[in-house]
Symmetry: C2
Subunit: 323 residues, 2 copies
Amino acid sequence: MEIVLGIDIGGTTTTLGFTDKEGNMLAETVIPTQAGQHITMYLPRLFSAIDALLAPLKDTHTWVGIGIGAPNGNYFKGTVENPPNLQWGGVIPLCNLFEEKYNLPAFLTNDANAAAIGEMKFGVAKGMKDFILLTLGTGLGSGIVVNGELVYGHTGFAGELGHSTVNYDGRLCGCGKRGCLETYVSVTGIRRTVSKLLADTLVHSELRAVSQQDLTGEMITNAARQGDKIALEAFEYTGQIFGRKLTEFTVFTSPEAFILFGGLARAENLLLQPTLKHMEANMFGAFHGTVKLMYSSLQDTNAAVLGASALAWHELEKQKRKM
Amino acid sequence: MEIVLGIDIGGTTTTLGFTDKEGNMLAETVIPTQAGQHITMYLPRLFSAIDALLAPLKDTHTWVGIGIGAPNGNYFKGTVENPPNLQWGGVIPLCNLFEEKYNLPAFLTNDANAAAIGEMKFGVAKGMKDFILLTLGTGLGSGIVVNGELVYGHTGFAGELGHSTVNYDGRLCGCGKRGCLETYVSVTGIRRTVSKLLADTLVHSELRAVSQQDLTGEMITNAARQGDKIALEAFEYTGQIFGRKLTEFTVFTSPEAFILFGGLARAENLLLQPTLKHMEANMFGAFHGTVKLMYSSLQDTNAAVLGASALAWHELEKQKRKM
């Protein structure tokens, strides 16, 4: 049976696993990324982990390719380019390094794009040709699928919807601009919204006892579930900004669904209901009722590795079709 | 030599022409659309015009297909669906009607999409795989090309960028929403901006002598070229809103270029300079300097018919590749 290796490189851990064509995970492991290490120290550790994981599968399976999800991953070049949270040193030709080591085709993209391909091959987007995956974590990442293919654009970096602007005089973003969507709609964003509401109102809230630094998405979600007015208002505010922005994404590529993934998506209906309400209220006529709002079905466990594997399967199939 | 028929259906006139694969127009004619006529009255007139145009080409050329650009054109179904400015009666299966009459493959899309394909095959977008065409006329239309293909989306109506929102409390749009981009960036939009500036300021301007209804894009352009402060300020304001919005379109599909077409695009540098300035000033880091702002090279004469012809050539090539 044919298998591929999926690798998800995060700032803290690197997760890797071998999957078959149906997305079954046959073997999986995790190693610390050690973000401060140079790439020349990191790679030998990763290769050892791969060899150990492969050993028991070697005789019964055929390893056919490698998929990698990595921050600042450039799909066109197969490189990882100066990721802010990894001290690897400059532009790393990661695909070439893997291809040389294992003599197998390797493919690379960023984490949100890998997640989108994962949903399309193994998750709720199965059978969809036009959808947008949005990861709501520390920031807001996105993978845009049009006509069954990821949108990479002229530069390879298309799909930076977290830096779409909500308000040109709005909150300062880590990117240096003001009012980016991710300063409102993300775990960090809703935390800032709680701070704003604590400043603007006198409403009683248990969140007044927590510092902004200590505040987590789970704490806000739990408080809202217990009826805390500030927490509920924070979700309403987030849903308004998010729902309105989704109407703008809709007039662009007319997706069948928006699929939500990541920390803030775990709040489920607390986020979904106000988002849906404001989306439909502001939707351009032709698109009323045409877009679904869904949660990722790969949300837990090994979604990122599945996404990286799905990338490998997807690209291998494309190569076959071309032959 | 093979030729296709391109048809551009407008509210006032219908233009049609036969072109070869290089976009040379071999014969062209115009008939009045007579928007108040039912489709059963319009079609026989159109067919007669086609037959007359074809007669002298018939013996020396092979007619291989038909491309149609029409308002509210549904590419997937080949239908024209309740266009607001034509009294044709409901949903018209225009492609089927042409295929039955002439026994040739027929393809249909809306005018902005046809213009985008025209630029890709015969204009400034030759060789580009990712770009966005924006028509700045009475409204703002758009055709989005990703990886060499038009984006139709799940519904077939993708690319309604004129109804992307600038300000949720902004100007009322014909679509019923507030603050749509086309209420600012279009001939109608800049006219409204002039009215606003006449209201807000006391600056001397020759435009104070003209009613909003009588005001044309050319008048504003000419006034600006002669140094009229209100007209110049109107272009600056339009360029600010437009340039900022283009940064949002950029984070979406990362195009190689925005190509401007239509009445307001004729103002050239009056519009381009402020737009470019505000676009670069607000651009997300990764995309600085990656996007060109250009004018259509098919702007004059038969651009719409060329676009419709280009659609036919494009689709015929796609069918050939699949065989």
